[in-house]
Symmetry: none
Subunit: 147 residues, 2 copies
DNA sequence: TAGAAAGTGTCATAAAGTGGAGGATTGTGT
DNA sequence: ACACAATCCTCCACTTTATGACACTTTCTA
């Protein structure tokens, strides 16, 4: 069971590689080896899954019958936003160009542990999408987490 | 069942580590080993859970489907404020930089046992959030604790 | 085919994190 | 009040992580 938490300020190197924070890397499931899957988020960010976690989503979406038009449409749009990446010996991976563009990544990135997955954000975008009103957050938490 | 009580004045060392008071440490559930979870409080303080206590919250929030926009928003704001920490052999743990900033912790900290969890405060902030008027405290107690 | 751009790997250094030991202080029981 | 033990706190040494630099390979382009 993956257990990613916390936010980290990370830097991309000149070639667009991101070094995963040690706390994140340490929580990657053994079973996935160095294989990760990168996906375009619905928000302007990237989402990183260990391979085992991604398989769960994959089996759901690839299970949809290809002879259904709406399913095909979903599949097409889903798969186009996916890339598999591999950690190198020092715990880095290259973010494909189109994906850095999509998420507007430059030198700095915010990495957020989201339980079973990891989000990668441009810092300014990230701020925009965070809840700024403590009351709203508190209310949302109460709505879904209340005993 | 955890049972943390009382308040303690503690010091952070040069690296930002906090030594848990013996009374608190003695009440940590065996089942959690040395694993603890730190969370940003809604107030400007940090909240410390033994792992077993936190698991209850975690299973609730990670159970929310990631393809729902509102769930994602909650998850993002929740997880960003979470970090797992581990007690070392001498009962200390490192408070991540971003978290010491959030709670405005410097050398001194107030540690408060809150039953199933522990709060960590900057001393001045703590004073601000305490009830100073005995009458108000009494009224509040009467409102919610009266038979 | 040459040169440029992109991708990959290694290394060095500085910063951050981790662990342990010793002495001061506090608390407890006799 | 005293001795003993537990706790607290500071210091230091070691390990791990982060980051920049650089060089080599592969791919693309003119």
């Amino acid at each position: 069971m993956s257990f990613f938490t916390s936010e980290y300020e990370c830097k991309l190197d000149a070639k667009g590689r991101l070094v995963l924070p040690a706390k994140i890397k340490g929580n990657l499931p053994e079973a996935s080896g160095n294989e990760l899957v990168l996906r375009r988020g619905f928000e302007p960010c990237l989402i990183l899954y260990p391979m085992v976690e991604f398989k769960k989503i994959y089996s759901k979406i690839s299970g949809l019958n290809e002879f259904n038009e709406e399913y095909r449409k979903l599949q097409r749009n889903f798969f186009k936003g996916i890339a598999t990446v591999e950690l190198d010996g020092t715990g880095r991976f290259l973010i494909p160009k189109l994906m850095t563009n999509y998420a507007q990544l430059q030198k700095e990135a915010i990495v957020v542990g989201m339980g079973n997955r990891i989000e990668i954000w441009n810092p300014e975008q990230y701020d925009k999408y965070l809840i700024n009103d403590p009351g709203e957050f508190s209310a949302l938490a109460q709505k879904y987490l209340d005993a």
